[in-house]
Symmetry: C2
């Protein structure tokens, strides 16, 4: 029966039970980290054969004969552009290959815009105010970048098919100080949703007041399906923007971090030719080139998009049971109580949980006390400020399946305990 229909006495009885179970859990000395979207040991092992593709006998020249061991090749080797282009459905000529971190690429984009502007626009550091649209809940590392640069972040509610586009269109058309929007369009972090055709189409047709407005399209989970027989579909944004006569409005990001090794993958940016010229004018000052040996290693290992997909199926078979375990345990323990809901994503790395208003911080804190580490409450919101204090990001990838089950159960008990406590106090206060 839903908690909302219980009397204060009934709630108190439930609370006693929950507290008892909490004390029991405390005795188990759990030590489980569900705070970050980190692949687990077993997933890391999947890429170990990659360590053998380049050995001391290997020819380290790439297809066009360039020796990958030496300096140079600013935009990345052609075969890596092709592979990552295929990964995100963009021609190789629209791709730049970077180092190991797509977050670093996004940071650099914003950093350059501050110092030099975007394709000739006023450098953002010369403006009184720069604002950014942030669909929420969203990715904490995105928000950390915009916060670092002193950019004012504006929350945009997320619907089941993407950000609230009415609001996005209205704001960007009115306010020239709005220079960008963060998007994780597929298996979104943390809500797991994928943007619909209509949403992508509306993005492609945006007519922002600021000519230097850019959509930061972080396609981090393009092939990170949990269910390969029925993956989510996402329209390709670069092509849609081009068709809409709006080719320069988007930067698209990807990496092989969660395909190969998270610390040692390769990242890429895709954009229109005009954007790439702008970017390379800076890039050639910043570096002589990124690690081509690692680019070659990734290409020689995966060979093609098919190779990547085969690898992703193996990842999915490790991750899927963990997601399903969390979902099942939450279903069994919480569904009937009616105070919370959570996502059941078809891919990506997160489950987004929405509990009773005003409980998220306390839940995360109480979980930590019994050895279950969750992402900080509020992390999925700009300035770590979840206005309802209700959202918690669950990241089931890293622990073992056994630990995921224990953590999910412990999480349910803590949710009950904290929620009951809160409800009882509210009833008492009247």
């Amino acid at each position: 029966m839903p908690y909302s229909e219980l009397s204060i006495n009934e709630l108190e009885t439930e609370l006693i039970e929950a507290k008892k179970e909490y004390e029991h859990l405390k005795g188990l000395n759990l030590n489980i980290n569900m705070s970050r979207g980190q692949p687990c040991q077993e997933q890391l092992d999947l890429s170990m054969p990659m360590m053998d593709v380049l050995n001391s006998k290997a020819d380290l020249r790439c297809e066009d004969g360039i020796d990958c061991r030496n300096y140079g090749v600013l935009g990345g080797i052609n075969e890596a552009k092709k592979l990552l282009g295929d990964l995100i459905e963009v021609p190789a000529e629209n791709i730049i290959i970077y180092g190991n971190s797509s977050i670093n690429v996004m940071y650099d984009q914003i950093s350059r815009s501050f110092v030099k502007g975007v394709m000739g626009s006023t450098p953002w550091c010369k403006l009184d105010k720069v604002k950014w649209l942030c669909p929420v809940p969203g990715y904490d590392r995105h928000f950390a970048i915009t916060e670092y640069f002193g950019i004012e972040m504006i929350n945009i509610p997320m619907n089941s098919d993407g950000p609230d586009m009415d609001l996005v269109e209205k704001l960007v058309s009115e306010d020239e100080s709005i220079k960008g929007i963060w998007c994780v369009p597929k298996y979104s972090n943390p809500s797991g949703i994928t943007y619909s055709k209509e949403v992508v189409d509306r993005f492609a047709h945006l007519r922002p007041k600021a000519k230097d407005f850019r959509i930061y399209w972080d396609n981090a989970y393009s092939v990170h399906h949990l269910y390969f027989d029925n993956p989510d579909y996402l329209d390709e944004i670069l092509n849609e923007c081009k068709k809409a006569g709006n080719p320069d409005i988007v930067y698209k990001f990807t990496s092989t971090s969660k395909i190969s090794f998270p610390g040692s993958g390769i990242a890429a940016l895709a954009a229109s030719e005009a954007n790439l010229v702008d970017i390379k004018n800076q890039l050639k000052i910043q570096t002589i080139g990124y690690d081509k040996v690692n680019q070659l290693r990734q290409v020689r290992y995966f060979k093609s998009l098919d190779g990547i997909k085969a690898q992703m199926k193996k990842h999915a078979s490790i991750l899927r049971p963990k997601f399903e375990a969390v979902e099942t345990i939450l279903d069994c323990n919480l569904t009937d109580l009616g105070f919370a809901n959570w996502t059941k994503p078809h891919g990506g790395y997160f489950i987004s949980f929405d509990g009773y208003t005003g409980t998220a911080k306390e839940i995360v804190s109480k979980c930590k006390e019994i050895g279950v580490l969750l992402t900080d409450a509020g992390a999925a919101y700009p300035y770590h400020n979840d206005p309802n204090d209700s959202n918690i990001r669950i990241a089931p990838s890293s622990p073992t399946l056994e630990d995921v089950k224990k953590a999910a159960y412990a999480f349910c008990i803590v949710c009950k305990m904290v929620t009951l406590n809160k409800m009882i106090n509210e009833k008492r206060e009247g």
Copy 2:
């Protein structure tokens, strides 16, 4: 006999000879690149065994048990800090390990200073003017960074023991808009000189008017000796600054680019604790961490500073004959003619040539016509502006020894031809 002592008729006779030889060289269809400090094939081959140290059977955990394949470890793994700390004589705790490019690290330092200032100072983008001291001739990629950020560059003459410190001290003590100085203190690019103890001491005792002034100490060639039995000595700047009560004034940079693979080494920054705190506050926003697998690969291969030194001796034995060939050929062909001088460095990657005033551009251009590619004339000066048009950087590392000899000889002939032409015109004009 020196050209300066020849009559116009004698000069013309010499010119006819030089032109004849130039035409002969043209017929050889040379194709030799001496423009960049790129290691040659043979040097790249030295590091091939590094490709075997991490294979699919290897344990990719570092000394403290962290799995290098996963996300994290922002400042680099401890054993890499230790190795690169040993390389540049700095404790591991003063080191941050980055990606594959030390130029990128320097770029990031300046970029952050523009957006956020230095340890709480006013962000440079908010200042009317930022200036920088540039010992000349110097490294073109350094100057390209400061030029990109719109920093006004001030030439500082180089003496045989380092920059003109009287001028450096005077300028930094008077002008608060001077925020930094580029230094390649050992086997300097391109002059090959190493800063004396006195120069390092005066750097350590600098009292700049700007609190956010930093010495950019690019220790790119710390162990890049050509003569291991008699290497140049350089005082360790971080320690000297600390002793002088000036611990925060310097950033020191290094990398294994010219020790292992130029495109796939690891870079590092060394600085005081207070500087590192400032830097990491930004770094944690910019990335989750750099490529730890490559850090581990480098450490497992070189093992220790001794391992690096053994490798550098092999590099030296490849490079030394090339440098000596250039020096010998220049000696035989040009010394007696009295119009040029050049450096005979004990390490590093360059010979710096100073010819007759007003000839450098023409020499580089005429060399290019016969297939000998040199660094653009003026490249060693801010804004590519060599006030005397006399300096040329010779980079003998990349071609084969045979080609280096051919290129050096061709260079001498071109120098003669262009200089004779110039001298004859000057005499005619009176």
